[in-house]
């Protein structure tokens, strides 16, 4: 049976939902080996038992968060050369894609990024050109290195009991060229208790129309248990943090429901949300291009429409 490696992404001591999606895709292809880079792996191994994983390799000894993707990629490449898995699956996060890129160079393997589906035959589906074109492609050389966007597959829980192997590394285990850059300090993004933007089932975004006041957008998001996004106009104006930017140069989201509030729908924004399952927009301008995409649109002032909707949702829920 063919082997598949998945890179476990973890934030704040928890495995991301996107990682369980990787395990599900991996399970279609063969036996899944989860690669965990962490010095505190016990809680992660516990969480792994709800995912489709056959084996786990824990790599510990240095703080991998203190470096760029280089040392992780080096170890992954060694493991790929040693075990010859048919595929290596990674979440499409900033660092995940950098690990994938370096591992592809190191192992002479083909690379496909931002796939939204992957068959047992390793055919990847990508949604490109801002969601206007769907492409099927396949790696033809080496290990198939594929990065997958989150929210690409419905997560189902299982019970597994992966065989665990631990590899201890030290700074001396590495070629010095793998440890050239160092993280001095980290100011972690404060989520405010809301779900992570790329993993959320519902995203409520605000744009120029908020005039800098995101209160109604956040209130609507909270009534729906949604993540908050922002258009480039809003983050450029400093109204909302860059880490919440949805669009060409921000995050690409594909939630069940996307609510665009006071966002005109420029192509840069559409590129980041066009593949959402359902789209709702609230905008004063009846001619705004966002209305071409919507399942439901309200032409009106978001400062009137959003609070009324929020109150309505809260009363339905109570």
């Amino acid at each position: 049976m063919s082997q598949v490696f998945i890179l476990v992404d973890h934030v704040g001591g928890h495995i991301t939902k996107a990682t369980s999606e990787l395990a599900l895709f991996g399970n279609r292809i063969g036996e899944v080996t989860a690669l965990i880079f962490s010095n505190e792996s016990s809680p992660l191994l516990e969480e792994l038992k709800t995912m489709y994983v056959d084996r786990a390799v824990v790599i510990e000894g240095i703080n991998f968060d203190s470096y760029s993707a280089a040392p992780v990629a080096r170890i992954v490449a060694n493991l790929i050369s040693e075990k010859s898995p048919s595929a290596f699956l990674v979440s499409s996060t900033v660092k995940g894609k950098e690990v994938a890129a370096r591992a592809a160079v190191l192992t002479n393997s083909g690379l496909i990024t931002d796939a939204i589906d992957l068959t047992s035959e390793l055919v990847a589906t990508q949604s490109i050109f801002g969601g206007s074109t769907t492409v099927h492609s396949q790696v033809t050389h080496g290990c198939a290195i594929v990065t997958l966007r989150s929210n690409s597959i419905e997560v189902e829980a299982t019970t597994s009991n992966p065989v665990v192997e631990t590899v201890v590394v030290s700074v001396d285990s590495f070629d010095p060229s793998a440890l050239l850059d160092q993280v001095i300090s980290l100011e972690a993004t404060v989520s405010g208790g809301r779900p992570e933007l790329t993993e959320a089932a519902i995203v409520v975004s605000g744009g120029r129309g908020t005039n800098g006041d995101f209160t109604p957008v956040e209130a609507l998001a909270d009534s729906l248990g949604a993540a908050v996004g922002a258009s480039r106009a809003a983050t450029d104006a400093g109204w909302y943090p860059h880490s919440h930017q949805v669009g060409q140069t921000g995050k690409t989201v594909s939630p069940q429901l996307y609510l665009a509030c006071g966002i005109s729908g420029a192509i840069q924004h559409r590129a980041g949300m066009q593949t959402s399952k359902m789209i709702i927009a609230v905008n004063k301008d009846a001619e705004a291009p966002i209305f071409d995409l919507v399942d439901f649109g309200v032409v009106g002032d978001l400062f009137a429409v959003l609070p009324q909707a929020t109150a309505g949702i809260l009363s339905k829920k109570s």
Partner: protein
């Protein structure tokens, strides 16, 4: 400081992009300098302005900015824009055998050009607006054995000690990172506001050198690049069917309630 800025010519981001024969149809759309690369060019200019005694690069200043690109002959238009912003010279790798190259081949070509020179700093945009893979900077760092400082929202360099620090802005937050030069740095679009080329800059750019190199000039075997050597292949591509037009209501004082009714109807709540 010797700075290289890697740039790509891409279809205008406002233009409709289509596939042709498993590749992006580049012939029938307007081509521009990748928007995100303009921030890298601007940042190079600002670093030189901050560190050069004369505030400028060029002969005798100890500072230079070289634009590096791979693409068809036509890519000189995009390069010319970067030169008109103020970069000193450029190297374009062009060869019929390069058509259809994947990111691995592209990074090999760019790394070969960079490796043949003595650059301190390699600046890139975070991604091209056409392929959007965002992997070239990491691949370059890997191939060159340089430090990787990507997604920089700010950069500071101390040339005397070759120390570079950046604020890396990613999904997890802001990471302050440091390394010794040489380094590959990609910049996000929040880092600066790229200047418009001045008339003087545009005139001066016409006299600047764009060195054109072929694969044989670089000693790269044509069989290792291009579509036939790409390690992934496109099996098929289809235009996504346009979304069916939805319901649009005008708020008459009940727009919010109409939205709630829609969510109930769709079983969201």
């Amino acid at each position: 400081m010797k700075i290289a800025v890697c740039v790509k010519q891409v279809p205008d981001s406002w233009a409709e992009k289509k596939m042709a024969g498993g590749l992006l149809d580049r012939a029938n759309v307007d081509a521009v300098l990748n928007d995100l690369d303009e921030y890298a060019v601007e940042e190079a200019l600002r670093l030189v302005e901050a560190h050069s005694p004369t505030g400028a690069s060029g002969e005798g200043s100890g500072h230079s900015i070289t634009i590096i690109s791979m693409g068809p002959d036509r890519a000189t238009e995009a390069i010319r824009k970067a030169l008109s912003m103020g970069a000193d010279d450029a190297i374009l790798v062009t060869d019929p055998a390069l058509s259809g190259s994947d990111a691995l081949a592209t990074s090999l070509v760019l790394a070969t050009v960079i490796g043949a020179n003595d650059f301190d700093l390699i600046l890139c945009g975070t991604e091209s607006t056409d392929a959007r893979m965002s992997v070239i900077p990491a691949m370059l760092a890997q191939r060159l054995g340089f430090a990787q400082l990507t997604f920089a929202g700010s950069i500071s360099v101390v040339p005397e000690t070759s120390q570079i620090t950046i604020a890396r802005m990613t999904d997890v937050g802001v990471e302050n990172m440091k390394a010794k030069l040489p380094a590959v740095v990609s910049v996000i679009e929040k880092i600066n506001e790229p200047r418009y080329p001045s008339f003087k800059g545009i005139m001066a750019s016409k006299k600047k050198t764009i060195e054109v190199k072929s694969l044989s000039d670089l000693g790269i075997d044509p069989d290792t690049v291009g579509m036939s050597a790409a390690w992934s292949e496109v099996k098929d591509a289809q235009a996504r069917p346009p979304r069916a037009a939805g319901v649009k209501v005008v708020d008459d004082g009940n727009g919010g309630n109409a939205l709630v009714d829609f969510l109930v109807e769709k079983r969201v709540i």
